[in-house]
């Protein structure tokens, strides 16, 4: 029983990280109806920036917030420069652009920082918190950070005029434009926010999986699964999906199929959800008009 509980709790901790990346995916999906294949690499790149800052002697939280700010700007710039030109292109062109971004970010990071694995510090103490024997303090901290991000996002979209404008732009671009919302910039802001959330996830996952240019491959896959399980247009659903996928992955990996096939869990979930219930648990069902 102890072992089971331990796996569930560890699953919640990684689930928090998947939830963050899933949230970033949902942000971009809501605004543009696109799935960002480069989300993981974007987060990985941000994490390397944080690593450089910390290695240059900056205190952890200083580097953390600076990185989040930098990622926001990076996200906005990418939307403006790279995504803008293909906004109205066929899906294939957009997917190819995302793949190009993925490849470029991956190789640039490898070029600058080399492909050797690096350790990344955790801001949380090494001793388990409150003397519990189930979770390391980094795991508890990661869950805490995810929940804080979620609350901040909720508050932003619910209580600020800018958040309202962004929601409006995502839901009905034409009408939003008529009431004076600059829809293009709202999309760019959405990208910025997604990149910032992704960077938080990257910095939280890096102490667990270690820092290397390919570290987000698996995480991105779980995040896709999480976003789909929760419903790809529902932020709260994505967070729920993240925790669910994290727990499923850990428990199934530990007791049923073995650690070697963990990624297959994501594959089965993705294909299963897409075929059986494409709108996920909490998503809106889409009906296309002929």
């Amino acid at each position: 029983m102890d072992a089971f509980l331990h796996q569930v709790l560890a699953g919640l901790a990684t689930g928090g990280i998947y939830a963050s990346v899933a949230l970033a995916l949902v942000m971009i999906y809501q605004a543009t109806h696109l799935v960002n294949f480069a989300q993981g690499e974007l987060a990985m790149f941000s994490t390397y920036i944080a690593w450089s800052l910390i290695n240059a002697g900056m205190p952890y939280w200083g580097a953390f917030f600076l990185t989040v700010g930098f990622s926001f700007v990076l996200g906005v710039v990418i939307e403006r420069v790279v995504i803008r030109p293909v906004e109205n292109s066929p899906v294939l062109a957009v997917v190819v652009v995302f793949i190009a971004l993925l490849v470029i970010l991956n190789s640039i990071t490898g070029w600058i920082y080399s492909y050797t694995i690096k350790t990344f510090p955790s801001p949380f103490p090494e001793q388990p918190l409150f003397g519990n024997k189930f979770m390391s303090s980094h795991e508890i901290g990661a869950i805490g950070v995810t929940l804080v991000v979620l609350l901040l996002l909720y508050a932003f979209f619910r209580f600020t005029p800018l958040g309202l404008a962004m929601r409006a732009a995502a839901q009905n671009p034409e009408s939003s434009r008529l009431v004076g919302i600059r829809v293009g910039w709202m999309l760019a802001l959405g990208w910025g926010l997604a990149a910032a959330i992704g960077s938080v996830a990257g910095m939280m996952v890096a102490p667990i999986v270690f820092l290397d240019p390919n570290m987000m491959g698996g995480v991105l896959l779980y995040a896709f699964a999480a976003a789909l399980v929760g419903g790809i247009d529902n932020p709260a659903g994505a967070v729920f999906g993240g925790f669910l996928v994290g727990v499923l992955e850990n428990v199934l990996g530990a007791f049923v199929i073995g650690n070697e096939l963990k990624l297959a869990v994501a594959l089965v979930l993705i294909i299963g959800v897409l075929t059986v219930r494409p709108s996920g648990f909490f998503g809106r069902v889409h009906v296309t008009r002929v």
Partner: protein
């Protein structure tokens, strides 16, 4: 084939036949891989370019083909040439089965599902219960086939690389003929009709579900046969050589070679084989940076790829000739 089309084709074939005698063994091996990639790219292009179904996981079918060939040769002593039909049939079946759930997925979601397949495949290949066949992380080493003794008797001794090149060339010709005929006929037109407007296609009496899943199967078959040939040429299969970047390489090949173009598969194969070799000298990461930049550049500036550009040059010069003729009258 008309005379006008036949002439360039004959020249091309002549070059292709002389090539292995003019270059080093290593270059011959590289050109063999170009042919292998060309078959794989044609397969992906049938699916993505002609039928509009995006696959980011075609490396998986390449891997299945490669493993089929390696396992049959290594464990069961099957001759190399006999592994190709088996690899093709296996991939046809797997592709068709994967195409069935994929029917319900459109555009982005299919890309997602195939991406998941591509990412998780190396892990599946490493699975320890399959290790008796797949060799686990170590993979399988196979031996390169010798040229049949017949050639030496005819006074044309071919070394292993040259023989494999000609063998691959023959298979590639057969596959391209098959692909071209398939795309030119009724089924090919149905594929393109579905890509352009699936509702209209359905209304015209095209069985969308059947055509789409069959296209998936045929596409996987092409890529699987290429995988088997690739395994024989490289003499080695291992899970980590079939990661998501292989699938991405194939996507890069069809975008740069030219979507929905048969000749584009050859341009794309030349590109993905030789550009990394040149770029490798700058840095280990350089090939992928260059791949990425080329991808962006092509999508923005030349969405038709090399094949599109070539076609444009020919039609322009053709138009110019026509105009000159008219003026002379």
């Amino acid at each position: 084939m008309t005379m006008r089309k036949l002439a360039p084709f004959a020249v091309l074939m002549l070059i292709a036949c002389v090539l292995p005698f003019a270059v080093s063994e290593y270059r011959t091996f590289q050109f063999t891989l170009v042919l292998v990639y060309a078959i794989a790219l044609l397969g992906l292009n049938i699916l993505t370019g002609f039928n509009g179904q995006i696959s980011l996981g075609h490396g998986a079918f390449y891997a299945i083909g490669a493993y089929c060939a390696a396992i049959l040769m290594d464990k069961y002593g099957v001759p190399y040439w006999a592994t190709l039909p088996v690899a093709g049939a296996a991939c046809l079946l797997v592709g068709f089965l994967f195409g069935l759930p994929a029917l319900r997925l459109e555009g982005l979601y299919l890309a997602l599902a195939t991406f998941a397949l591509g990412v998780s495949l190396p892990q599946l290949l490493k699975y320890h219960h399959l290790e008796a066949w797949t060799g686990g992380v170590q993979g399988i080493t196979i031996t390169k086939p010798d040229a049949p003794a017949l050639f030496a008797e005819l006074g044309l001794p071919l070394n292993q690389d040259q023989w494999l090149y000609f063998f691959t060339l023959a298979v590639a010709l057969a596959m391209f003929a098959l692909g071209a005929n398939l795309l030119r006929g009724r089924i090919g037109r149905a594929m393109m009709a579905i890509r352009d407007n699936h509702v209209a296609a359905e209304a015209m009496g095209v069985n969308n579900a059947m055509v789409k899943s069959l296209t998936f199967g045929v596409s996987a078959m092409f890529t699987g046969i290429a995988g088997a040939l690739g395994a024989i040429a490289v003499q080695f299969v291992a899970p980590d050589s079939f990661n998501i970047f292989l699938s991405i390489t194939l996507l890069i090949g069809i975008v740069i070679g030219g979507l929905a173009s048969i000749s584009g598969a050859i341009y794309g194969a030349l590109f993905i084989q030789f550009v990394p070799n040149i770029a490798d000298e700058i840095s280990k990461a350089a090939p992928w940076a260059i791949f990425g930049l080329f991808l962006l550049g092509f999508i923005y500036l030349m969405p038709g790829g090399f094949a599109g550009a070539v076609r444009m040059v020919f039609t322009r010069t053709g138009m110019a000739q026509l105009r000159r003729k008219r003026q002379n009258h």
